[in-house]
């Protein structure tokens, strides 16, 4: 693990489309970049046993999660030639249709961004202790499990 400071990846509530647009705008001064690839996770209004998910309430083992995000970040920079990488994950309530995960990678050339982004997203799903309580419209809930 490197000496770099561990960042806080979490944001309270949904990630707004304006925030994503502004993140893109900030990269327009980095003129060595030729390709960006962005993954967005959006909360689905899944229907289970006739009940519809209205929101997911995210909690996390925050210290471990931020350490894992940091490890994923370091491993990704080792594996892939990226100019930059940004990861944001929601905590708290995110309604159906809102965005809970924003992963943004940039590189001079395109081939690497596809591989890097998929690697990061799969690692997040598998390695990071984030928990999701799916809230139904009738206020009952069930616990989400990544597959």
């Amino acid at each position: 693990m490197s000496d770099k400071k561990i960042k806080n990846v979490f944001k309270q509530g949904a990630i707004s489309s304006e925030f994503i647009g502004e993140s893109i705008a900030k990269h327009q001064t980095k003129t060595s970049i030729g390709a960006h690839n962005i993954f967005l996770g959006q909360v689905r209004a899944d229907i289970m046993d006739g009940k519809t998910v209205s929101a997911i309430e995210y909690t996390a083992y925050e210290d471990m999660a931020n350490a894992k995000f940091h490890d994923i970040r370091e491993a990704t920079f080792e594996k892939f030639e990226l100019t930059c990488m940004h990861i944001y994950h929601s905590l708290g309530t995110v309604k159906a249709g809102e965005i809970c995960l924003f992963v943004f990678v940039s590189s001079p050339r395109r081939k690497v961004v596809f591989k890097a982004l998929e690697y990061i997203v799969e690692e997040i799903k598998a390695q990071v202790p984030v928990f999701g309580k799916e809230i139904f419209e009738d206020d009952t809930h069930q616990w989400k499990v990544n597959n």
Partner: protein, 77 residues
């Protein structure tokens, strides 16, 4: 020795608390789980992993007395 155990998600629903400090005289995570299964019988049917000092560990790992956590399935993203 005194250890702190953190509970998350579905597991915290069973233990009805997010964290507790206990006095533990055993050695391995297996022994700790036996103790917790007695205290929270519903834990037995739940799917979870054990983390020690923020790393996942096997059930026979030696408890070193720092931060432990019971983590239900991950649901990030």
């Amino acid at each position: 020795m005194t250890i702190t155990i953190k509970y998350f998600g579905l597991i915290a629903e069973v233990t009805k608390q997010n964290e507790e400090t206990i006095d533990f005289s055993g050695q391995s995570a297996t022994e700790l789980l036996e103790y917790l299964f007695l205290k929270y019988p519903d834990l037995k049917n739940k799917d979870f992993q054990v983390a020690q000092n923020q790393e996942l560990v096997a059930n026979d790992a030696i408890i070193t007395g720092q931060e432990l956590a019971l983590l239900p399935p991950f649901a990030g993203g």
